[in-house]
Symmetry: C2
Subunit: 407 residues, 2 copies
């Protein structure tokens, strides 16, 4: 008799953004006349930059002609894209990362979700609280956690972000095997300094841990002293994998392209004592279970790493950061403490109250979708995340409505 | 100390097509002047049909304008595509499949590789030998097999395809939990009759098994008595999941779009006795670890299910089938027994000798890439697979060279 993976039964609720979508749909069917404004899921709203669109069309045209048609590509991504990424995002910042170490994929959600497959089933794991739910949920599904109890899964080390540590929790006092970090943070918008990341690299070396570093929001950093990549820290390429995405950077949420950096020098022993290069494990995983990103999408993605593409990324992130500044100013004027919104498109707002209730309240009274902090972990209770991803006039209207509803 | 998934260490060799690629690259660097013709990996060579290209461009243009821009789409795929698939591929054949049961993805390799995550770690598994390596390898990586011994992994039930059963092995005499089937078969090109599939559905019902049916090559079926979908068999929607792809159908190997059908009515118990709808498990997996297929690609894919798109699919598959007929005729004239090539783009050729040696021989003497049967399992030893996916003139030249080399 076929039997299900019982770990799925441990998952507490549906995936956060699916639940938000469900509540918003219910609200819309009850109030079909009300115009909902979404500052919730963190989905970009501005169209792809022209340089990207032109490259995308050119890629489609190549698929339209037998002479230039491309079938299966390398599972790791085309060299033209891997090289552009290595040069633009890493060599330019002095990071010791080569094109071979860049694996192109269709999403950082896929990569951060799939990466845990490479490790033993009984690893100890540390992750921030609050945090993007994919890190937790995918480890629950893989059986690396105990049961749900008081808002947490047994067996995980939760790194608590709070005002006391500036929402950047330090390494734990005990050893863990795998550490998920995300800076600029989703959902808090907090950023880690060079010194704080240096502490993590030192911790990983001392404890034999591996860091999975999610840098999906690095394009929003405006403070020059804040690292964009963990590889700006000496020795990080011995102990850290980095995930990045074009979603929030270049408007690729619906177009789909991301990448993961796996340094060649990292090795990991298995339970039999055999050592494996981490690069070989990920390469095997991707070669066996993935067939590469759509060729025209890779052509479009490569355009992001040209001078014109980088200028467009800057313009786009400036636009959303201007929204973020307005959100933060408005919420602060309403009397709420805020973090984020300066080096991040997210503003983390302390509401004090039940965060799903606050979410429902803002949805029903202002017809504005935000994200309840509790959806990101127990330390998110009493907070909401407001996303800057929308058109400036929509953000302004949403803020007017929120002001009217909450004043 | 972080430790690796020891199951990766059980994998015998690199993924088949990666190994072929390695040998071909080595040959090319030794003989830069020789023009290699590829009848190996099964990659299409004809450009995307015009109706598909037009829709693809239109999708890109929508991404170029704020007013029509699409960000995150449904993880399951857009309704316009799911509905087109359900109507064109299922309702038209009387299969009881609804649009909600169709999950759009970026590849059947991903889906057939990932689907096993939904099940308990100690399931018993049956799969054909020879077979597409992804079914085996992904279960090895998940720890469902014993060690490699004499060309096989411990703990798996191998369904042996041979001339005695017409390369369509019957259900085993004992119970297994999960059965992988692939018809038209990759690599043998054999097809299963309605009666043969009916036996599998009856077996699954009697034994509580689930069938994972890979129909990636159904567009090549020309014999009207052969089912294109397992859902043409009464009761199959109680016990079977079906995987399909646009790769070989509409030339999407480099463009990436596929889909998996998970009937709503299938339920599976876990070890705690709790019953889950299989649809809910896959939906949860996809919502948590996948972010949907690129929007312009979904627009392009939807064009495949229009009348013009279906006509283009027919023209394209006719073209490759004409190649297959020539391959089969030539190899038979050279004295080799063959199956496939009539309802399939693959011809399975009995060489009698070591299949990697035959592969190397054809590569070095004819500069033609084929696929060694042993790469698909022990029962593939003594066979090679020749793919019809190339331009007609290249296929003819390859056959001339093979004739000259082997005569």
């Amino acid at each position: 008799m076929v039997r299900a993976n019982a770990n799925y039964g441990k998952l507490k609720a549906s995936y956060l953004f699916v639940e938000i979508g469900r509540r918003v749909s219910a609200f819309q069917s009850e109030h079909p006349d009300r115009q909902v404004i979404k500052l919730g899921i963190g989905d970009v709203t501005r169209s792809l930059p022209k340089v990207v669109v032109d490259a995308f069309h050119a890629g489609v045209d190549e698929q339209a002609d037998d002479a230039t048609f491309r079938g299966y590509g390398p599972e790791q991504g085309y060299p033209f894209l891997r090289e552009a990424i290595a040069a633009t995002d890493y060599a330019s910042r002095g990071c010791p990362i080569t094109a071979d170490e860049v694996f192109v994929s269709d999403g950082a959600k896929c990569d951060t979700g799939n990466f845990q497959e490479l490790f033993a089933a009984d690893l100890s794991i540390a992750l921030p609280d609050p945090v993007y739910p994919v890190y937790v949920d995918t480890n629950v599904m893989a059986g690396r956690t105990g049961a749900w109890n008081n808002g947490r899964y047994g067996g995980l080390t939760y790194l608590e972000a709070n005002p006391g540590n500036g929402f950047v929790p330090p390494p734990p006092s005990h050893a863990v095997d795998l550490v998920y970090l995300c800076y600029p943070n989703n959902p808090t918008g907090a950023v880690a300094t060079r010194e704080q990341l240096g502490e993590w690299v030192a911790y990983a070396k001392e404890r034999g841990a591996l860091i999975l570093f999610d840098a999906a929001y690095e394009a929003y950093i405006r403070d020059d002293s804040i690292p964009h990549s963990i590889y700006e820290i000496d020795g990080a390429a011995d102990v850290a994998v980095e995930f990045r995405s074009l979603s929030k950077t270049a408007g690729f949420t619906g177009t789909r392209c991301a990448f993961t950096v796996v340094p060649q020098r990292i090795t990991v022993a298995d339970d039999t004592g055999a050592r494996h290069r981490l690069w070989d494990l990920w390469n095997r995983r991707q070669s066996t279970k993935f067939n590469g990103v759509s060729y025209p999408v890779q052509r479009a993605a490569a355009a992001v790493f040209t001078d014109a593409g980088q200028q467009a990324v800057r313009t786009m992130s400036d636009y959303y950061l201007a929204n973020a500044a307005k959100i933060r100013a408005t919420m602060q004027r309403l009397g709420y403490d805020c973090v984020g919104g300066d080096n991040s498109p997210y503003v983390w707002v302390r509401t004090g109250s039940d965060s799903w209730a606050f979410f429902d309240d803002v949805l029903h009274r202002a017809a504005v979708v935000i994200t309840p902090g509790a959806g990101f972990g127990t330390m998110g209770e009493g907070y909401v995340r407001i996303s800057a991803f929308n058109h400036a006039d929509k953000v302004e209207e949403a803020l007017e409505r929120i002001k009217a509803a909450l004043s």
